[in-house]
C-alpha cells in the first residue's frame, strides 16, 4: 500500500479536534491460497487477492464507519468521502489518484507450490487417506490515524484443518486434525511431528462416563480453556461477567499466571501492531491467582492507553478489543508426578473448539478423545466428549501443580465473535483441574 500519509491526514483534519476523538484509515492487502486435499491429491485450488480500505471516526458514544473495496489512493479518498458525508462534514473533492501507483504485491502466496510439495510428502507418509484444507494467508495492514505515527504490519499464516483415516487396534477410524502456525520452514517440521503423533495407533475408545471428573489438560490445550474463560470475559467490550464483578480478587491458586501476549510471533495470534496501529503489550489476565486487567482497543482504553488488542477480521469491519495469544506460565511438576497426583480422572490433550457465555460464565469445550487415568496410570481410551463448567469454580479448582514445560497449542486457530473471525493462539503447561463436568458427545 503506497499511501501518501500526509494527504490522508489532511483529509481527516475536519474530524479532529476534541480529546478522545478517534479518526483513522485502515487498509489491507490480502493474498490467500487454499488447497483442498483428498487422499494425496489437490482437488481444488483457490487463490484470492483482496484489498480493502475503511475509515472510522468515533466521538463519545457515536461512531461513523465506511469501507470500500481497493486499497489505492482512490479507495482511501472514497472511504474518507463517505465518512465525511455520513458525519455531515465538508465533502472531500473527487479527484483522480495521483502520485506513485500502488506497488504490486507479489503474485499469490510466495511459498504455495513449495509448501504443497512438502505437505504432499508429509501426508503420504503419515495420513495417506484424508480430507484437508490448507490455507496459506499473507496480510499487509496499514493504519494512518490522526495524532499517531502510521504503521504497517505483515503476517503470513499456515492453517491445516480436516480429517484423516488412522489405524486403531480395532480397525480404521476417522480422526480430526487441526494445525495453525505462523508460516515458516519450522512450522512444516512441527506439522509433520504433530500429524505423526495424531496418527499413532490407539486402542478402541469407550464412551466418556458422564458426571464430574478430575482432569489433566495436557499438550498445551489448557490454552483453549483460558482463552474462553479469561480471554473473552476480559475483552473490554464483553459486558458484565463474573470476573468483572471481582477486580483484583483472588480467583485461583497463587501459582497461576496467565497473560495475553500478542508479541509472541511464534504463535498463531501474534502481531507487531494491532489493527489500530498500536504496539501490543502483554496483559496479565490472572496474576498470582488474582484477576488481572482487561484487553483494550483505543475506544475502550483506560488512562494507560490501548493494550494493543484492537483487532478486526478485515477492512470491512470496525476494530473490537480481542484476545491474541493466551500464555500460561509453567510450574515445576513433571508429567509422571502430575498423573500420580491426579490418581483417578481423565487426561485430555486436544480440544476441537469451545465457547463461553459471558454473562453467566458458563463454558463448554469439545474434545475428540481422552484417556482414563486410574491410580496414576493411563487406562482406557475414551471417546469424544464435552467439558462444561462455570468460570469461577473452574478457576478455583485449578491445582497448584503446573507442568514444567509450556507447549504451544496448534489446535487453537480461528476465533469468532460478533461475526468477526481473527487468528488466535496459545501456549500452556500441563495443568490439573478438579471436578469438571464431563459428558459424552454424540
Amino acid at each position: 500500500m503506497n499511501w501518501d500519509d500526509d494527504s490522508i491526514l489532511r483529509w481527516l483534519e475536519p474530524f479532529g479536534g476534541r480529546e478522545g476523538d478517534l479518526v483513522e484509515v485502515f487498509g489491507e492487502a490480502l493474498t490467500e491460497t487454499c488447497l483442498e486435499w483428498r487422499d494425496g491429491e489437490i482437488r481444488e485450488a483457490r487463490v484470492r487477492r483482496e484489498q480493502g480500505t475503511s475509515a472510522r471516526w468515533r466521538r463519545g458514544r457515536s461512531e461513523q464507519f465506511a469501507s470500500v473495496a481497493g486499497a489505492d489512493e482512490a479507495a482511501v479518498r472514497e472511504a474518507v468521502r463517505a465518512l465525511r458525508a455520513s458525519a455531515g462534514r465538508e465533502p472531500l473533492p473527487i479527484r483522480s489518484a495521483r502520485g506513485a501507483p500502488a506497488a504490486e504485491t507479489e503474485v499469490g502466496f510466495p511459498a504455495a507450490e513449495r509448501t504443497a510439495r512438502r505437505l504432499a510428502a508429509i501426508l503420504a507418509r503419515h495420513a495417506p487417506r484424508h480430507v484437508f484444507t490448507l490455507r496459506l494467508r499473507q496480510t499487509e495492514r496499514r493504519v494512518v490515524a490522526a495524532g499517531r505515527p502510521a504503521s504497517t504490519a505483515t503476517r503470513r499464516l499456515l492453517s491445516l484443518e480436516g480429517r484423516f483415516t488412522a489405524a486403531s487396534r480395532a480397525g480404521d477410524e476417522q480422526r480430526l486434525f487441526a494445525f495453525h502456525a505462523p508460516m515458516s520452514d519450522e512450522a512444516l517440521e512441527e506439522l509433520k511431528t504433530a500429524l505423526a503423533d495424531a496418527a499413532a495407533p490407539r486402542d478402541r475408545a469407550v464412551p466418556v462416563p458422564a458426571g464430574e471428573a478430575d482432569a489433566i489438560l495436557a499438550g498445551g490445550c489448557a490454552a483453549v480453556l483460558f482463552h474462553e474463560i479469561l480471554g473473552h470475559p476480559l475483552e473490554a467490550d464483553a459486558g458484565v461477567s463474573p470476573l468483572r464483578a471481582l477486580p483484583e480478587a483472588r480467583v485461583a491458586v497463587a501459582d497461576l499466571e496467565v497473560i495475553d501476549d500478542a508479541r509472541r510471533l511464534d504463535l498463531f495470534g501474534g502481531y507487531e501492531r494491532d489493527d489500530e496501529g498500536t504496539a501490543p503489550r502483554p496483559v496479565k489476565l490472572v496474576a498470582s491467582g488474582l484477576v488481572g486487567s482487561q484487553l483494550t482497543d483505543r475506544a475502550h482504553a483506560a488512562a494507560a492507553g490501548s493494550t494493543g488488542h484492537g483487532r478486526r477480521s478485515g477492512p470491512a469491519e470496525p476494530p473490537l478489543p480481542r484476545g491474541a495469544n493466551v500464555v500460561v506460565s509453567g510450574g515445576a511438576t513433571d508429567p509422571e508426578e502430575m498423573l500420580r497426583r491426579l490418581g483417578n480422572g481423565i487426561w485430555i490433550d486436544e480440544f476441537l473448539g469451545g465457547s463461553v457465555e459471558i454473562a453467566s460464565g458458563s463454558f463448554r469445550l469439545r474434545f475428540p478423545r481422552a484417556r482414563r487415568v486410574r491410580r496414576g496410570r493411563f487406562a482406557d481410551e475414551l471417546g469424544p466428549g464435552v467439558l462444561a463448567g462455570e468460570l469461577l469454580p473452574t478457576l478455583e479448582a485449578v491445582e497448584p501443580a503446573l507442568g514444567r514445560e509450556v507447549r504451544a497449542y496448534r489446535g487453537l486457530g480461528w476465533c469468532a465473535r460478533a461475526g468477526q473471525v481473527v487468528p488466535v493462539g496459545g501456549a500452556a503447561p500441563d495443568l490439573m483441574i478438579r471436578r469438571l463436568g464431563v459428558r459424552p458427545e454424540l
Partner: protein
C-alpha cells in the same frame, strides 16, 4: 481491466470451460448498544473466475478485475487433480437500473422497551445490529450465459441479557425480516430465550410430546439438509418413510433471486412429499456426476468461494396445517422447546441427534411452568417419523441459508 478483458483472458486459457462472476454490494448498518451507536456504510466489490485448465478445475477471486487477472496464473500453476467440467448453462437476463440503499431504521429503543415488557423487566436488550443492503451479481460463461440479478437484504442480530440473583443468561438471536420490522416477535423470542433458562425447574418428564418453536424447527431442518444433497443417503433412510405423513419439505428460492450462483434458473423443488423422500438438489457439478440437470442450487455465500451445492430457501410445509393453539391443546404431557441453549448436534451417518433447549412444560394442553434446561436425544430417523403435525406459523431464519419452519409437533421424545 474490464469484465470483457477477463473473459478474453479466460478464453485464451481454456476456450470453452470458464465462468466469470462479479458482485457489487452496498450495505448500511446501524449497530446500537447502551454504550455506542455506530452507523456503517460498506461498498463491496468481488470478482471470481472458475475455469478448467489442463483438465483440472481452478478458482480465483479478487476485489477488483486487475487483482483477478493477477490471480489467474497463480491458480493455474498449482497441481490440481483432473476433473470433468460441468455442462454450462446458457441464458441471458439483464438488470434494470438500481436504487440506492436506505439506512435501516433506529429500532434499539423500541426493541429495548418491547424486550422489557415481554420479560416483565427481567431481560435487557444489550445490542442490536440492523443491516439493510442490496447486491448486484452478473455471471457470464464460455457457453454464452450472461445473466444479472439483484438481491435485497434486511437482517440483523440482537443480544439480550437476563438476570436473577446469582444467575444470568445472555442470548444472541440472528434474524431476517422479509417485509418489515417485526419487533414484537423478536422481543418475545429474545425474552423467552434469555429468561426461561433462569428458572429452577429441570424437566419434569423423561418422555412425552415435544412441541418445537419455529426457530427450533428451523434449526432441525437445517441440520438434516445434507440428506437432500448427498448422492448416497445414510443407510437408515427409508425413502418411502423418511418422516411422518404430515411432513413435506421444499426448497424454493425463486422469490429471492431468479438464478443461483451459477446462472441456473431458481425453481421449487419438493424434497419430501407426505413423508417420502422425493427429490434431491443439484448444482452443475453434482448434476454432471449424477447424469442429471442442475436444480439451481449452486450457492455462492461469498464471491471468495466457488459455487457449492446447498439449500437456498428450505422449509417445512404441510397440506393440512394445524393452528398452534390446537397443537398445544393436543399435548397431554410434554415440553415446548422455546429456544436451543446449545447448537443442535446431528450425526446423520450414525442416525443420532441431541438437542439442548429451554422451554415450558405442558400438561393437558396447558402450560405448567418454565423448564430451565432439557435435553432430547435419540435417532434422527425416529424423530422425523414422529413428526405428527405442523402448524400454520411458518417463519424463516438465517441458518446460514434460509430455513423455514412452523411450530412442529413430535408425538414422542425422550428428555433428560
Amino acid at each position: 481491466m474490464t469484465g470483457d478483458d477477463l473473459g478474453a483472458l479466460l478464453s485464451r486459457r481454456c476456450p470453452e470451460q470458464w465462468e466469470l462472476y462479479r458482485k457489487t454490494a452496498e450495505t448500511r448498518e446501524i449497530d446500537a448498544t447502551p454504550e455506542l451507536e455506530r452507523a456503517a456504510w460498506r461498498r463491496e466489490e468481488g470478482w471470481a473466475a472458475r475455469w478448467w485448465e489442463g483438465g483440472a478445475p481452478r478458482f480465483a477471486a479478487a476485489s477488483d478485475a486487475d487483482g483477478l487477472a493477477l490471480a489467474l496464473p497463480e491458480a493455474a500453476r498449482l497441481p490440481v487433480a483432473a476433473d470433468e467440467p460441468p455442462a454450462w448453462p446458457v441464458k441471458k437476463a439483464t438488470l434494470a437500473g438500481a436504487a440506492s440503499v436506505e439506512a435501516p431504521p433506529a429500532l434499539f429503543e423500541e426493541l429495548l422497551r418491547a424486550v422489557a415488557a415481554a420479560s416483565r423487566g427481567e431481560a435487557v436488550l444489550a445490542g442490536l445490529t440492523l443491516r439493510r443492503g442490496r447486491a448486484e451479481e452478473r455471471i457470464v460463461n464460455a457457453a454464452g450465459l450472461d445473466v444479472a440479478q439483484e438481491h435485497h437484504v434486511f437482517d440483523g442480530v440482537a443480544r439480550c441479557v437476563a438476570r436473577r440473583p446469582g444467575r444470568a443468561r445472555e442470548v444472541r438471536v440472528p434474524f431476517r425480516w422479509d417485509s418489515g420490522p417485526e419487533t414484537e416477535t423478536l422481543a418475545r423470542r429474545l425474552a423467552d430465550a434469555a429468561t426461561l433458562p433462569l428458572s429452577d425447574r429441570p424437566t419434569p418428564f423423561s418422555s412425552g410430546q415435544w412441541l418445537l418453536d419455529p426457530a427450533v424447527g428451523a434449526a432441525l431442518l437445517a441440520a438434516i439438509a445434507p440428506l437432500f444433497l448427498d448422492a448416497r443417503p445414510p443407510r437408515w433412510v427409508v425413502r418411502e418413510k423418511l418422516a411422518g405423513p404430515a411432513v413435506s419439505i421444499a426448497d424454493d428460492a425463486s422469490r429471492d433471486a431468479a438464478f443461483d450462483g451459477e446462472g441456473v434458473a431458481s425453481r421449487r423443488m419438493l424434497l419430501v412429499e407426505h413423508g417420502a423422500l422425493s427429490g434431491r438438489l443439484h448444482d452443475l457439478s453434482s448434476a454432471r456426476r449424477a447424469g442429471a440437470t442442475s436444480t439451481g442450487h449452486g450457492v455462492r455465500p461469498s464471491f471468495r468461494l466457488p459455487p457449492q451445492l446447498g439449500p437456498r430457501r428450505l422449509f417445512f410445509e404441510s397440506g393440512s396445517p394445524t393452528p398452534s393453539a390446537a397443537l398445544l391443546s393436543g399435548v397431554t404431557k410434554g415440553l415446548f422447546a422455546s429456544a436451543l441453549t446449545a447448537p443442535l448436534r446431528v450425526d446423520l451417518q450414525a442416525d443420532r441427534y441431541e438437542a439442548e433447549f429451554t422451554g415450558v412444560s405442558i400438561v393437558g394442553g396447558r402450560a405448567q411452568g418454565p423448564v430451565a434446561g432439557a435435553r432430547a436425544r435419540g435417532r434422527v430417523s425416529e424423530l422425523l417419523r414422529r413428526i405428527a403435525a405442523l402448524s400454520t406459523d411458518l417463519q424463516f431464519f438465517p441458518a446460514p441459508f434460509l430455513a423455514g419452519s412452523p411450530t412442529v409437533y413430535v408425538e414422542r421424545a425422550s428428555f433428560d
